[in-house]
């Protein structure tokens, strides 16, 4: 290397070196996401593809599948094949369970929103130190064992549970009211399970609310009610949508709650799917049912993406 080259370009050489280093390290950094992507790809995404394939196969007699193409799983969702003349008859049993689950999920979402919005708003308007406590208190049930929390509800609404015992002792009733293993129990369980899922996203969106806008509204003679409906709620729309989705999707596929509080009698989609893999011994049907649920979830997510991207455009 000549002395001229050395003296004339130390800076550019250093810059070149730096750019090179940044480039290679950026390329290397990118590879860091590989382990996570491989694990989720192999043990998370691949299984989803496998159930797509399984849903198009024939059920083996003792669970599992036989490698033979068939669309029976999807047909069985709506029809039942007559054993004698092989004709298809419309049987709405599964459809009813899906509609029922949908209804449960919608009611859960609406009631959680009605309770969760005021709660989140109240939390967001506390002084910062108090806010932290509220968030921690809502976060604890969010992360607590769902099975145990459902058990706690069961404990209270059983025939010999606290509510019935108290009412019997007070002489209000002379025979326990049956609450466990009813639709009411499932609905109550779902509300209890998913309430924190509504409050937390609402809180994080309400916390960022610009109260100068609220003040401006009052200056323009808005009433409290108008401020709520025309300023606060529209501004917190992203949080409302996120919260509704976070409640609706797991409520639709809920498994633990109907299993324990519905007692295996009042099925929801989640139990129905699990049953095909257990006592039902019809894996293809279970896979088809799971994929139909997945389709419903994707529709919900699609509306979410459309709504939130629209929001960005309006600024």
């Amino acid at each position: 290397m000549t002395t001229a080259a050395l003296s004339s370009a130390p800076l550019s050489k250093a810059a070149l070196f730096e750019a090179q280093a940044v480039k290679t390290s950026a390329r290397r950094n990118r590879l860091l996401s590989l382990p996570a992507l491989i694990i989720i790809g192999v043990f998370g995404v691949l299984p989803l593809i496998i159930i797509c394939v399984y849903s198009l196969l024939v059920a083996a007699p003792y669970g599992g599948v036989q490698w033979q193409f068939s669309t029976d799983a999807y047909l069985n969702f709506l029809f039942q094949r007559d054993i004698f003349d092989d004709t298809l008859q419309f049987t709405p049993d599964f459809l009813i369970i899906y509609l029922r689950s949908f209804l449960f999920a919608v009611v859960t979402t609406v009631i959680c929103l009605l309770l969760g919005f005021p709660t989140a708003y109240f939390m967001a308007t506390r002084p910062p130190a108090q806010r932290n406590w509220w968030v921690l208190l809502i976060t604890i049930p969010f992360w607590s064992n769902l099975l145990v929390r459902t058990l706690a509800i069961m404990f209270i609404i059983r025939d010999e549970g606290l509510i019935n015992n108290a009412l019997l002792a007070l002489g209000v009733i002379d025979k326990p009211i049956t609450m466990l293993y009813t639709n009411f129990a499932i609905q109550l369980g779902l509300l209890y399970a998913f309430l924190p899922f509504m409050v937390l996203p609402l809180y994080s969106s309400l916390e960022k609310l610009d109260f100068r806008l609220v003040e401006a509204a009052y200056d323009l003679y808005a009433t409290r009610r108008q401020v709520l409906w025309r300023v606060i709620i529209p501004l917190s729309k992203p949080g409302i949508i996120a919260g509704c989705l976070l409640v609706f999707i797991p409520a639709l596929g809920a498994y633990v709650t109907p299993l324990i509080l519905g007692g295996g009698v009042h099925l929801m989609i989640g139990d129905l799917i699990a049953q095909q893999f257990g006592s039902g011994r019809n894996w293809p049907l279970g896979c088809a049912q799971a994929l139909i649920l997945m389709a419903a979830v994707l529709v919900a997510l699609f509306f979410y993406v459309r709504n939130t991207s629209g929001k960005v455009q309006h600024g």
Binding site: F122, V199, Y218, A274
Partner: protein
Amino acid sequence: MAEPRVMDIKDQPGFRSIAVICLLVLYIPVLILMIFSLNSGSLVTHWEGVTLNWYGSALLNEEFHSAAKNTLIISVTATIVSTICATLAAIGMTRVKPWRGLAAAFMIINLPLMVPEIITAVATLSFFALIAGTLGLNFGIGNLILAHTVFCIPFAYMPIRARLEDMDLTLEYAAADLYATPWNAFKRITLPLLVPGIMSGAALAFIVSFDDFTITQLVAGPGQTTLPLYIWNQIRRPMTPEINAISTILLLVSILFVSVSFLIARRRAK
């Protein structure tokens, strides 16, 4: 009241009572469960006095031991693996120029959060059945560890990524100016600053694995009973306060880890 009220513009009437009701609704059932775990009578619903005996009998129970051992093996391994993967992925997805496929990679990482748990459960079950059937492979309890690792990754990933995005990059630039190699800058600057995020993520990963019921129940083979599965097996029999004691232990573990994760995150905010 005659005198004019001072109006707080943030106030909305009735919201306070609803907030308090929500909190009561969330806590009363679990508090009752916890209180009844101290009941000295053997009937779950009839209060007879305070005792810690049920905790004693729960802790001496052989089945409880093996369930607790399984749970810890699964959740500790899943936490370690998922936290390492999530940390690497968070660095690989924030400390780089946007690359093609970044959005797709982000979606894959978050996929376990979007798919309903029951679908993940039956899909994982089908997957392991398939590789057992065609390749003759069965990882035993490793099946559960792998299944748990998948859904733990996004939970560990979120706080780590948030921490990375909040981080002041000037410190790393300063290190680079002082001739630190990229690796040294990472080891001496980035990693120590990232530790709270990693701990917070690991705590969350541990809880979701420790508490998981749906996926574990469907994927678990014989002899792979975890604590949630143990509770589920018990509630189908006549219930004793022992099950309340075990449930309380599970809740306390969750509360401990959530609080730790929360306090670490709050220290960061200060």
